[in-house]
């Protein structure tokens, strides 16, 4: 076909020879120019007036500051903002594609209501345009009616990527004023909640970490997709370039279940059996102790100089003086003393010698950081896995140390113009809704240690337990497609009045009764406090590069618009709150007393610079002592009480190898996980419970650099280069070790079927000899049945459809990576 095309072109070339000279004069050049086929030659065009606006990328949680280039009202280029400390003028591959979201030909162009009462994959919603007033009145009428009947708890908000005070930040007051426990159901339990809970259980901070990569000399990366999707990806790559070329070069050991860019670029790549990261980390801890490599100033030491940790032997009680840690003696005696590399080899399949080498390097290089994300935590034993890894940071004294890790400070925002507590009526204060649990049962006896359990909502509604939802409003989340076992949601949400605010025609929108389209991010005025980054406070601002090009509104203004239509004092509150811009002006007033390092001290300067930030981070561990920033240096030594209040927010005020947080829930953990109540606090090895039935292959579904939070599914340029493992080009593949495939009679490129007890999906397979033979890899994001012309129906199948809805009982994180499946030729 290509040859034919070439011949055709040659023929056209010969034909065009006959018209020599036709355009030579116009082109103004010499030689064989007469062969030109263009009807008229074109030279340089004059450049229009280009305006650069400050905004923030919205394709992942990193919140990179961006410079948006707009000429004659059209956005045409996006680069990293040099003045933004995360972006530093740089971007990841997704960032440049932002214009696509603005000009997506499939995006919704205004509010619409559904006319087809039937819902399902093959049902056309029959959307018809309505005005914003009609749409908001319709929502308010529903909400006011529910409230009048004492059923306001049957209204729920759902959100995925909240940005800040001007959108998701408005939910809490909405729930309080209107009267629902379901404002809002967050997506954290379908994201990375396991890391937060592992840190809560050990150091008392329910948060991701900030990192001082610039000064780190050793990185142990476990299941974090560091060079693909770890936040903030763009900055992580900047730091990678620095770490790998500084002196001394930062040494990297990567532990993962599959070949990936971080494994390929690391100094040592260790392929671990899925769900066993905790065993690896315990063995590393074992060696750090037996080799005497722990940080004695932070951890403490034996009273007697002759004290030693010896494999298999207990240490005498009261022989070790703990400094900033709690429970080391019990941890060693009851768990760690037998967790040798040889023991871990049996469980993880990583040779003991590699575990020992890694431990000796990690323990003898300062500063060293162990980091992890969904790989270790996306299993039923995820919190314990994460705790074991995080314990390594304590053993080498990296918490709050230079070159180590810390936590994120908040932003000194100004107060809102109104206080919701002044606008509560009797129903809001004491109405029937107060006795109702959340629909997802998070923070109840069923899931006592969780903050959100969005994945439970579909099944709970279907069962009518604890009750049936009436109305659900979605913002930046699409659980009808992304939840594990999403077909349950497809069934469940048929009888719920669904309001979707996404500007894009996703699966949730296909179930919507009302579309209230948010503006795309280049059209929005929106704040965005940083995700955990380097610790010091920072908040960026989206400034619209163009006015909304269609009849769309900022989600915050949609919410305020609904609020204004609520009966009673709630409506008054929202009329006072007025608008997103008013909210942001009041928030920015907090900068007057705290001018940022870049001079930002009010709303106008925030818009101009696009970001407020104030360095440095306020706390520092040095040689076993904690110091607070005194204005010029870390010179205010902190008392144990101050450390407990600000840094180690655990019952003991120390880093806990024996977790008081878990012990508070001992009966629950014993019941759900079978761990004896007296042992639940110990960081320990717990077998993962694999889902999916009796499959013989592990099934993992990683996020790739172009995926992140999955917003690129309808971006053709994204699809075209979806990489990297086997060279997707216009799709992604089921990646399988050739031996595994050949044993099943599968050839490279064959269509294959992946089956769990939930059903089957199909994919084209590609051989990747770098992967574990017992593990299949299928990147997330493909297999949409909606979301736009390029996303819809693009193979392979959607991994969620063979992923059971099973969660870690402690964190509630959905166990996306713990399924086992069968593989056969389709």
């Amino acid at each position: 076909m290509k040859l034919f095309q070439t011949l055709l072109d040659r023929r056209r070339f010969l034909q065009s020879s006959a018209v020599v000279g036709a355009t030579a004069g116009a082109a103004g050049v010499t030689g064989l120019t007469g062969l030109a086929q263009a009807p008229q030659a074109r030279a340089q065009t004059p450049r229009g007036e280009t305006v650069v606006t400050k905004s923030i990328c919205a394709q992942c949680p990193a919140r990179c500051g961006i410079d948006v280039y707009t000429t004659d009202g059209r956005v045409h280029a996006i680069y990293g903002d040099t003045g933004n400390p995360i972006a530093n003028g740089k971007l990841c591959p997704k960032g440049h594609l932002g214009s696509y979201f603005l000009y997506d030909p499939d995006r919704f162009k205004g509010p619409m209501r559904r006319t087809n009462p039937n819902k399902g994959r093959d049902e056309d919603p029959g959307f018809v345009p309505i005005s914003w007033d009609e749409a908001l009145d319709m929502v308010a009428e529903r909400l006011n009616g529910l409230r009048d009947r004492g059923e306001s708890h049957r209204f729920a908000h759902f959100y995925g990527r909240g940005w800040g005070a001007s959108d998701a930040g408005l939910y809490g007051d909405f729930g309080k004023l209107y009267g629902t426990p379901n404002s809002a159901i967050g997506h954290a339990s379908m994201c990375a909640e396991g890391s937060k809970r592992a840190k809560r259980a050990t150091d008392g901070n329910d948060s991701y970490n900030s990192y001082d990569y610039r000064n780190t000399n050793y990185l142990l990366i476990m299941g974090a997709s560091f060079l693909e999707a770890f936040r903030p990806y763009n900055n992580v790559m900047q730091m990678w370039g620095h770490m790998r070329s500084k002196s001394p070069k930062t040494r990297v050991t990567c532990v993962d279940v599959r070949m990936n860019p971080t494994m390929a670029a690391a100094d040592r790549a260790l392929y671990i059996k899925p769900g066993t990261d905790g065993a690896f980390a315990l063995a590393v801890a074992h060696v750090i102790l037996t080799e005497g490599l722990w940080d004695k100033e932070f951890v403490g030491d034996f009273y007697q100089a002759s004290g030693r940790f010896i494999s298999g032997e207990t240490i005498p009680v009261d022989s070790f003086e703990e400094n900033w840690v709690h429970g080391l003696t019990e941890w060693w005696n009851q768990e760690l003393k037998n967790r040798t590399p040889e023991w871990a080899e049996e469980i993880t399949s990583i040779p003991a010698r590699h575990i020992r080498q890694t431990a000796i390097e990690f323990g003898s290089t300062r500063p060293a950081v162990a980091l992890f994300e969904r790989g270790p935590t996306g299993h039923t034993n995820g919190t314990y896995n994460g705790m074991a890894i995080h314990a390594l940071n304590a053993l080498v004294g990296s918490l709050f140390a230079k070159g180590g890790l810390g936590y994120q400070m908040g932003v000194p925002y100004g107060a809102l113009p109104v206080n919701a507590d002044d606008y509560l009526d009797d129903y809001a204060r004491d109405g029937a809704w107060k006795d109702q649990p959340r629909i997802d049962m998070a923070r109840t006896e069923r899931w006592p240690m969780t903050s959100h359990m969005m994945q439970e909502t579909g099944p709970n509604h279907l069962a009518g337990d604890p009750y049936k939802l009436d109305t659900a409003m979605f913002f930046y989340t699409n659980p009808i497609w992304t939840a594990p076992d999403p077909k349950v949601w497809e069934e469940a949400f048929k009888d719920v009045f669904v309001i979707d605010t996404s500007p894009f025609p996703g699966e949730t929108a296909m179930y919507a009764d009302l579309i209230l389209p948010d503006s795309t991010y280049l059209e929005r005025l929106q704040d965005s406090p940083t995700y955990p980054f380097e610790g010091w406070p920072m908040t960026a601002l989206r400034v619209p590069a163009v006015e909304p090009i269609y009849d769309t509104r900022h989600f915050g203004d949609i919410l305020i618009g609904i609020g204004k239509r609520l009966n009673g004092p709630a409506g008054e509150y929202y009329r006072e709150l007025d608008s997103v811009e008013n909210v942001l002006r009041h928030r920015a007033a907090g900068f007057a007393e705290n001018p940022g390092d870049n001079g930002v001290n009010d709303f106008e300067s925030w818009k101009e610079k696009g970001v407020w930030y104030k360095k440095p981070y306020h706390w520092r561990l040095e040689r076993g002592r904690f110091y607070e920033w005194g204005g010029l240096d870390y010179n205010l030594q902190m008392s144990p009480e101050e450390v407990k209040a600000k840094l180690f927010k655990t019952p003991s005020g120390k880093f806990e190898f024996k977790s008081g947080f878990l012990e508070e829930h001992a009966a629950y953990i014993e019941r759900e996980m079978g761990i004896p109540a007296e042992r639940v606090g110990l960081i320990q090895w717990v077998e993962p419970q694999h889902s999916g039935g009796n499959g013989d292959l592990y099934f993992v579904t990683p996020k790739t650099p172009l995926h992140a939070e999955g917003r690129g599914a309808n971006v053709p340029h994204n699809i075209a280069i979806h990489q990297p493992i086997v060279g997707g080009r216009d799709t992604v593949y089921l990646e399988v070790h050739p031996r595994t495939a050949q044993e099943r009679g599968i050839r490279n490129g064959d269509r294959v079927r992946i089956t769990s007890d939930l059903g089957s999906i199909e994919a084209e397979c590609r051989f990747v000899a770098g992967h574990r033979p017992d593990t299949l890899v299928l990147p997330f994001e493909f297999g949409h049945w909606a979301q736009g012309r390029w996303a819809k129906g693009r193979g392979p199948g959607h991994s969620g459809e063979v992923t059971a809805n099973v969660s870690d009982p402690i964190s509630g994180l959905a166990s996306y990576y713990t399924g086992k499946v069968k593989l056969e030729r389709a």
């Binding site: 045409h76 280029a77 040099t82 740089k90 790559m237 990489q723």
Partner: protein, 253 residues
């Protein structure tokens, strides 16, 4: 006049493809028309396998094969424009001889079946003689240098973002994106590279950072045996074209 050169440090490159997307948006190329592509290669087997990647712009050769074979002199090397190899879209007849002659595979003919269906050219149909007309167009257009959106039936390629580079101050040794004075003149792929694996500067200036890096880090040119003498140099342990199986081809196993 400078002789523009690029240095790519494979020890720092993370294979993220931001260079690819920055280029495609700056130059408004079609999906798959990746003037700045990144190729992935595999070798070996679990648990000791390798994966490598190679970012690949046009090499802007000092002795370019493509120029020698072009029957219409549409493709030409311009010593007055930093030695960049251009395609004059007013003259190109789309015969593709240059694509066959190029040892690096960095020339594209996009006026054929699209890589991604549905065809984006139907979503943004052609206006004003362009092959397609998306709403997000770079305002710079210069068909004599293959800048802007091409007309139908021509070959396209990397121009080292000449529409930016041409504004560089006379005599500047390096176009470093961290220097605010020249940030806007740096090629898109270099400007955005997060791990700073790319450098751009004057190969004729022995004081330039690119020459310093080539000297200190033993920079290599790809396929030097062809005599093409690229103006793009690679640094790092993996510098050179790996003899691996490309990642998008069948594995040998």
């Amino acid at each position: 006049m400078a002789k523009w050169g690029m240095v790519i440090d494979l020890d720092k490159c993370t294979g993220c493809q931001a260079c690819t997307t920055a280029c495609s948006m700056e130059n408004n190329t079609l999906p798959g028309e990746s003037w700045q592509d990144v190729l992935f290669y595999h070798e070996g087997e679990y648990p000791s396998a390798q994966m490598k990647w190679l970012p690949r712009p046009c090499m802007q050769c000092e002795n370019p094969s493509c120029v020698h074979v072009c029957p219409t002199r549409a493709t030409y090397k311009d010593p007055d424009a930093g030695g960049i190899v251009f395609v004059d879209w007013n003259k190109c007849i789309g015969c593709k001889y240059c694509m066959i002659a190029c040892p690096y595979g960095v020339r594209f003919y996009a006026d054929e079946k699209p890589l991604i269906e549905p065809d984006i050219r139907e979503a943004y149909p052609s206006e004003n003689g362009q092959l397609w007309s998306p709403p997000y167009q770079n305002p710079d257009e210069d068909w004599q240098r293959g800048i802007g959106i091409q007309p139908p039936g021509v070959v396209s390629k990397c121009t080292f973002c000449y529409h930016k580079v041409k504004h560089a101050p006379e005599g500047v040794a390096d176009l470093d994106e961290d220097n605010p004075e020249v940030k806007e003149y740096v090629p898109a792929c270099v400007r955005t590279c997060a791990p700073k694996a790319r450098y751009f500067g004057d190969l004729d200036n022995p004081e330039s950072q690119v020459n310093q890096l080539i000297g200190d880090r033993h920079g290599v040119r790809l396929k030097d045996h062809t005599g093409n003498r690229p103006q793009v140099y690679y640094l790092g342990a993996g510098a050179g074209v790996p003899a691996f199986t490309p990642a998008d081809r069948e594995h040998d196993a």
